[in-house]
Amino acid sequence: MAPLLEVRNLRKTYARHDEPGRRVVLDDLSLSVSSGDVVCLIGSSGSGKSTLLRCLDLLEPIDDGVIEFRGREISDPAVDPRVVRRDIGMVFQAYNLFPHLSVLDNCTLAPRKVHGLSPAAAREKARDLLARFGLDEHVDKHPDRLSGGQQQRVALVRALCTDPALLLLDEITAALDPELVGEVLDIVRSLADAGTTMVLATHEMGFAREVASHVCFLDGGRIVEEGTPAQVLGTPEQARTREFLRRVLPQA
């Protein structure tokens, strides 16, 4: 079966603000994600994880390479990014909920305005999902009134309300207190169990080991090592991977 998402030889650069020339952030990167896969991107800060996720959601123009989604090249300039994004959900590290809208309105905005659901249908669906993730009492509150963990759960629900075929999660627990990390990861775990296809950048190695079907270690904008969690996290072959794991894992 053809993969859901296929990235070939992706290259992304940014202008340097201090000197001429461009800084290469993603370098000849290839990645394949099949339906039902949970791909974890690990790597130190600045290795390009967020940039990769933003490129996949067409939030950044790329310099070279091909991104295919459902067998169609979406990096083609003739493709309308909004059509692609209808089927891709993205959640950011800083939640990025709309502060002027209630939790429910945050979750129904895109279903109503982009996917053409009736207000009633959108509300019902959002309420269902919010209730499933323990947020039923907060539906009518504004996001600033919620804890970080609750806000991030709302952000996940907001992304899920449009039934995305692919979910991109960018370090969604990095801004949370340790005690709140669990409640957000529980949701991701249940999504993984339900077969949701996800690409997620994470610093939670234990979580990656548990839910990932595939782990990619990024360094300097390249995938240095990839494989099953047991391979990459348990018996890494590359020296750089081992060094990174030594730094982030307490004991080994």
């Binding site: 290469v24 390479g65 990096s75 003739a78 300097g220």
Partner: protein, 288 residues
């Protein structure tokens, strides 16, 4: 951190080259559409103007090159007065406006009466038409007959503009100050900054950046309102144009004066756009 090494030997792939061709084709297409739309719109407006029945008379009375040239020197002289008045009034307005806005935010106990005054000032002044303020100051103040008070019309007209606009500008600053997120106040307080230091180093710098566009709006408005002084007999650009027009039964000088005002406001608007864009780029780089 990526190393710079692979950058040198990278060559765009065939696919990327094809994509670039597509993008430049799309760009060309947009340029063509935009140009065509512009030509059509301008053409229609121009045709409507030129084909209207009164066009020959309008052209003779409003767009006469001879009268434009004749009236130019006195309009230039008059316009210089507008420019001077604007240049003097604007800094005063900014200072007074910011001071009023800060007063309204002040929390120290002995500033409370001043806070009330600041509220009263903006409420009253904003309610009075600027032209009326000009009359009140220009004719009223000298009439008081107080010793040592200047009697110059230019002086009192400028004061009237400063009073009127500082009330508007104070409200603009205030909305900017109030839009700074409370978490910013909290983190400044957590660093043990005093209320004044918080304002000076954290809140006001962010507020000012945000209110640049509405401030510009008030600047432009002020530039135009310097022409209100024509009504109290000051020889500004509008007065010069009216003077010439009434004498020669031709309105072309009004158009000339209007062009002068436009020439002053447009560069300012573009400058502010550039500044705002540069700020936004610097602050949001890499942020998502």
């Amino acid at each position: 951190m990526s190393t710079g090494a692979p950058a040198a030997d990278w060559r765009p792939s065939e696919r990327e080259l094809a994509r670039r061709r597509t993008r430049s084709r799309q760009r060309r297409h947009r340029v063509v559409v935009a140009s065509a739309a512009t030509v059509v719109v301008i053409g229609v407006l121009g045709a409507a103007l030129v084909l209207s029945p009164g066009w020959p008379r309008v052209r003779a009375t409003f767009l006469d090159l001879h009268h434009a040239r004749e009236s130019l020197p006195s309009i230039v002289d008059g316009f210089w007065l507008n420019v001077r008045m604007f240049l003097i009034a604007e800094p005063l307005i900014l200072v007074l406006g910011l001071a009023l806005a800060l007063l309204r935010q002040a929390q120290s106990a002995w500033l409370v009466p001043l806070r009330g005054l600041a509220v009263l000032y903006t409420d009253v002044v904003r309610g009075i038409p600027t032209l009326l303020l000009v009359f009140l100051f220009v004719f009223g103040m000298p009439a008081l007959g107080l010793e040592g008070i200047p009697t110059s019309i230019f002086f009192w007209a400028t004061v009237a503009l400063v009073v009127s606009y500082s009330a508007y500008v104070a409200e603009v600053f205030r909305s900017g100050i109030e839009s700074v997120h409370p978490s910013q106040l909290a983190s400044a307080e957590a660093l043990a900054l005093s209320r004044a230091q918080t304002m000076r180093h954290v809140v006001v710098p962010q507020a000012v950046r945000r209110v640049v566009p509405p401030l510009l709006n008030d600047f432009v408005s002020l530039q135009k309102d310097t022409a209100l002084v024509a009504s109290v007999g000051l020889f500004d650009a509008l007065f010069a144009a009216a003077d010439y027009g009434n004498f020669n039964f031709n309105f072309t000088p009004y158009v000339v004066a209007a062009l002068f005002f436009i020439a002053m406001t447009v560069p300012l608007a573009r400058l502010c756009d550039v500044l705002a864009r540069r700020l936004a780029r610097r602050e949001r780089a890499g942020g998502l």
